[in-house]
């Protein structure tokens, strides 16, 4: 019976839940979303692909000619690559709606401007 009062009070208020695809809660600062690479800062050291616990980062080529392939379907957003990068070239964004039906579309490629 002690919950009845609470339940009745709640009955006349608006729901706590958000209608998700239409209403979105803003994510806080420092949220770990999809990481992005700034290829102007990248020196191609390969640390990010070496430390990645889930093998989500692939380096194609060597040094300053290298490209980065980021498989976001494998990424677990631990942000270890951001921490290990010696040039602060990687940043975690606030992007989190990354679900999809096709794994091949979940590849993000970062190339250098020549």
């Amino acid at each position: 019976m002690s919950l009845l009062k609470e339940a009745l009070q709640r009955l006349f208020r608006k729901p706590v839940t958000l209608k998700y695809p239409f209403e979105k809660r803003p994510v806080p600062e420092g949220f770990r979303g999809r990481p992005v690479w700034d290829m102007r800062k990248c020196i191609g050291c390969g640390l990010c692909s070496n430390v990645c616990p889930s093998g989500a980062i692939e380096m194609v080529g060597k040094g300053l000619q290298s490209e980065i392939k980021h498989y976001v379907d494998r990424c677990m957003f631990c942000s270890q690559c951001v921490e290990s990068c010696p040039r602060n070239a990687i940043k975690m964004t606030q992007e989190y709606e990354l679900a999809g039906f096709d794994r091949s579309k979940m590849l993000y490629e970062y190339k250098r401007e020549i």
Partner: protein, 391 residues
């Protein structure tokens, strides 16, 4: 075996589809009429080969693997892992990092126990309480998101400290959240102790006597609800628990009701710990740099996870990868006690008694052998394992 009263004993399988919480595990019950007279747990449905995976990754990568042993006590596992590796390396986390570890661990305890109280209410068919508890638990989840950048896998711990500081401007936010939660939790404690729906379903159900609890090596809130004062935070202090005053909550009801009360009171105690830690947090650095390779050695590390005592064992061989890693999660420690509790229970009480230990089968399953050709499953004894390792 007890004397048969109603004729023959019927075997009733329970699970592997979600016997209690939403995790697979199988229990074979021997039922006499409506009473359980025999319990045979069959574990191993959720074996993921995590310990082998530990041996193939570097120490740095293993932090995130340890975190994923369990979704709910993810911080307890990383604390235990980093403690073990820090022990092998001979380094110690700076004081501020140790306080931050306490704050995160206690926030996690609130969120885990809150989740459990909701599940317990759902198991006895009291979904109103389930909804309200989970609504208020969101406060903790939001705090986690602000502090660490993720709701579930906080990734706060690293070898040699923590990865993120708690900035001064979030401290009032945490304190505000704690004030709100304290008010709500006191209300729920009152609801649990007075609401007839809960009392009738839980008091006197799933009795575990203190003597049995100790003999069967029960851990955590299950043990404390049988009136035994046992907590790793006090018995073998880690992080900054030796500098923080707090009470070990016990209750001598020995039944499911006292397990609910113990968890509710522990949440209130956690709020006090967080407040104290925020006020007494020393200034300074939050991590020390550590080398990639770990010198040879072996160590055991213990942590009081929300569900009880968690033990990690690590053996290093001087390279950047561990040679052997072993995890003993609290649910495994509680399974023999659970079988004792279930004896003599009614069929209708099985779900709430099962849920009473706050089982986390995903944490627990990591040791069965399966021959995929003949579909045969077996478990090795210690001698057989030793023989195999010597070969």
């Amino acid at each position: 075996m007890r004397k048969v009263r109603y004729g023959s004993i019927i075997k009733v399988p329970f699970g592997p589809q979600h016997p209690a919480l939403k995790e697979p595990e199988n229990f074979m019950f021997e039922i006499d009429g409506d009473i359980v007279v025999g319990v045979h747990p069959r574990i191993g449905y959720n074996h993921r080969g995590i310990e082998k995976a530990f041996e193939r990754r570097t120490y740095l990568q293993n932090i995130y693997l340890a975190e994923r042993i369990c979704g709910i006590c993810s911080d307890a596992h990383t604390t235990c892992y980093t403690q073990a590796i820090e022990n092998l390396l001979g380094v110690e986390a700076p004081p501020r990092a140790r306080y931050i570890r306490v704050i995160i661990a206690e926030l996690e305890r609130i969120h885990s126990h809150g989740l459990w109280v909701g599940i317990a209410a759902h198991e006895i068919g009291f979904d109103t309480l389930f909804m309200y508890v989970w609504r208020d638990r969101e406060v903790v989840m939001d705090l986690f998101e602000t502090l660490s950048g993720n709701r579930v896998h906080y990734a706060m711990n690293t070898i040699g400290g923590v990865r993120r500081d708690i900035p001064a401007d979030t401290v009032p936010k945490i304190k505000h959240g704690m004030d709100f939660l304290e008010k709500r939790l006191k209300y729920y404690l009152n609801v649990v102790q007075n609401e007839q729906t809960i009392l009738k379903r839980t008091s006197g159900v799933g009795i575990l006597k203190p003597k049995d609890a100790v003999e069967l090596c029960a851990v955590g809130p299950t043990l404390r609800a049988s009136g035994v004062k046992n907590d790793v935070r006090v018995d073998d202090p880690y992080a900054a628990y030796d500098e923080i005053p707090f009470n070990v909550v016990t209750h001598d009801g020995c039944d499911v009701l006292s397990r609910i009360i113990v968890r509710c009171e522990e949440m209130l105690e956690s709020i006090n710990i967080i407040r104290y830690a925020l006020d007494h947090m020393p200034e300074g650095m939050i991590r020390v740099r550590v080398p990639m390779a770990v010198p040879p050695g072996e160590t055991v590390s213990r942590v009081e996870a929300p569900r009880g005592e968690l033990i990690h064992y690590a053996k290093s061989n001087g390279t950047t990868k561990p040679e052997r890693y072993k995890v003993r999660s609290p649910t495994l420690g509680n399974i023999p006690a659970l079988c004792k509790m279930l004896m003599g229970a009614h069929i209708a009480d099985i779900p709430i008694v099962l849920a009473g230990i706050d089982p986390c089968f995903a944490c627990m399953d990591r040791m069965t052998f399966i021959d995929d050709k003949t579909n045969k499953k077996w478990v090795w004894t210690m001698q057989q394992l030793r023989r195999k390792t010597r070969k």
